[in-house]
Structures are given as structure tokens and as C-alpha cells.
Amino acid sequence: MQAPSWVQDVFDHYLICEFTSIDNGKPVTFPLLFFYDNNSAKFVVTSSILFSRKIEHMKKNPKVSLLFSNPEGSGVEKHVVLVQGVAKIGDSDLDHGWERFLPMWRKKEPYIDGFLAAREQFAWFWKRIVV
């Protein structure tokens, strides 16, 4: 099903979402960079192992939500969209599994390459889990 164009704009251009996982029945919400794959119509977020508590939550309860409420920096009109779904965790290749999303990441954060160049310095930040 094709989403309305204003929803598509949100998915294509918003920088972040408010991502909620569930910890023992309590919601835990953090701002997260997300990627939307138009071909699969699925959302992807990645997480460093450094900030992996949310991954632990999702392994116990995969129900999550993504609220798109903050158009800051996106250049598109403000709309608010809530997406609920089931998270699937990919942590079999922490060093390279997330790299296929780098082109989408680069579009949102052009300076990420500079940070990536310091990969040795931030080694554990670049060990990433794909959701």
C-alpha cells in the first residue's frame, strides 16, 4: 500500500524519530536516527553496542513504536506520524552488518565519514546492531 505523499515525505526526510522499546512493561523512548527502505517499506535503526540497552529490551519484547514528530533539519513541513511494529534484531556481524545502510546515513549526516575515519578511536561505537 502506498502511503500518502505527506507521510512519504516524513519517512524520506525527517532526520530522527522518537523510538520506543519496552523494558519490563515500561516505555523507554529515545531520539534515534532512522532509515526508511522504500523497496521493502521497512524502517531500520542501528545501535552501537555502547547504547544497546534498547536492544536488550527488544530481545525480550519486540514490540516497538516510532513517532515522527520533529521536522527539525529536514526541510519539510511538520506532520506527526506514529508507526508501530515488531523489531527484528541483527547482531551477527557487528563490524560490517550495518555498513549497507551507510549511503542512507551519509545522506542524513554528511559529516559521518569524518567520524567513520576515526573508526579506530571510536572502535566500539562502530560495532553496531541492526534493527
Binding site: L15, I16, E18, T20, S21, I22, G25, K26, P27, V28, T29, F30, P31, L32, S48, I49, L50, F51, S52, R53, I55, E56, K63, V64, S65, L67, S69, N70, E72, G73, S74, V80, L82, Q84, D91, K107, K108, E109, P110, Y111, I112, F122, W124, F125, K127
Partner: protein, 150 residues
């Protein structure tokens, strides 16, 4: 992005007030909150809503038009700020996540804070945040160890 400051308001004889748990000056830096609860279907449900601080330091959220199911339930309210950069990306990242419960109060939802977690990159630069999070990274790697060993 996870916490650089975490505070839990339990353990004493008297419950802490919103003012004791949440710094109103810091909270006033945010424009709106994202109120989240677990809905009847078990999925998180979030709404963006305006808020104001009363003279008594109470956090009053504008009541969403629907979904009153969060009354009395565990809720999380995220106050988030970023500044977009014209060439792409963003800076000035800071957020405050407040857990607690809400009650109806004069047309608003009054937030009763119980725990707070927050990060401001101007207070704790990102590299220092990463350094502080190493124990969590180590724990996650250790949790994967059995599958690596297999």
C-alpha cells in the same frame, strides 16, 4: 544516545516532587514533549504534546484528544532538542526522558515524575558519553559470547 545522568525518586519516606527530580530551567529549554505509554494491544503509543511548568513546578501536559488509557499507567515523556545544520545533519543534541505517571488536572495531564535520564552534548561531549558507556558495550559483547563460542 543514552543517559549521562540518571536519577530515581524512590527509596525515601516521602515521594520527591517534580521540582526535586526535574530541573525546571533545563526543562524550559524544550518546546514540546512526547508522551508514551503501553496501549491495550501491548504496543507503545506515543503522542507529541505541548507542556507548561506551573508556578509550583508541576509539569502539565496538554491532554491528547483521544486515548485516555495512559491515566494511572507507567508513562515516559521525552523532551528532545536538536538543531538542524543547513548542510545536513544536526547539532545541539539534548534530551530529557522522564518516567512516571499522569493524572488529570484541570484539563491537563499532570506528570508525576519518578525517574529521569538525560543527556546534553554541551555538558557531556559525545566522545565522553561513549567512554562512559563502555561497560554496557562490554556487557552486550559478553551476552553474545555463547553464540560466538558455539
Amino acid at each position: 544516545m543514552e543517559e549521562w545522568r540518571y536519577f530515581q525518586g524512590s527509596g525515601g519516606n516521602q515521594p520527591l516532587t517534580a521540582l526535586e527530580l526535574v530541573d525546571p530551567d533545563r526543562l524550559s529549554l524544550f518546546r514540546y514533549g512526547v508522551l508514551t505509554w503501553i496501549d491495550k494491544d501491548g504496543f507503545p503509543f506515543s503522542v507529541a504534546t505541548d507542556f507548561l511548568l506551573s508556578e509550583n513546578g508541576e509539569i502539565l501536559l496538554r491532554k491528547p484528544s483521544a486515548h485516555p488509557t495512559m491515566i494511572g499507567a507507567d508513562v515516559a515523556v521525552l523532551f528532545n532538542h536538536i538543531t538542524g545544520i543547513p548542510t545536513g545533519g544536526y547539532t545541539d543534541r539534548r534530551y530529557m526522558l522522564v518516567w512516571g505517571r499522569v493524572s488529570e488536572d484541570k484539563g491537563f495531564l499532570k506528570l508525576h515524575p519518578e525517574e529521569v535520564s538525560e543527556w546534553d552534548e554541551k555538558v557531556l561531549p559525545f566522545d565522553k558519553l561513549c567512554a562512559a558507556a563502555v561497560p554496557q558495550g562490554k556487557k552486550y559483547l559478553e551476552s553474545l559470547q555463547p553464540s560466538i563460542d558455539a
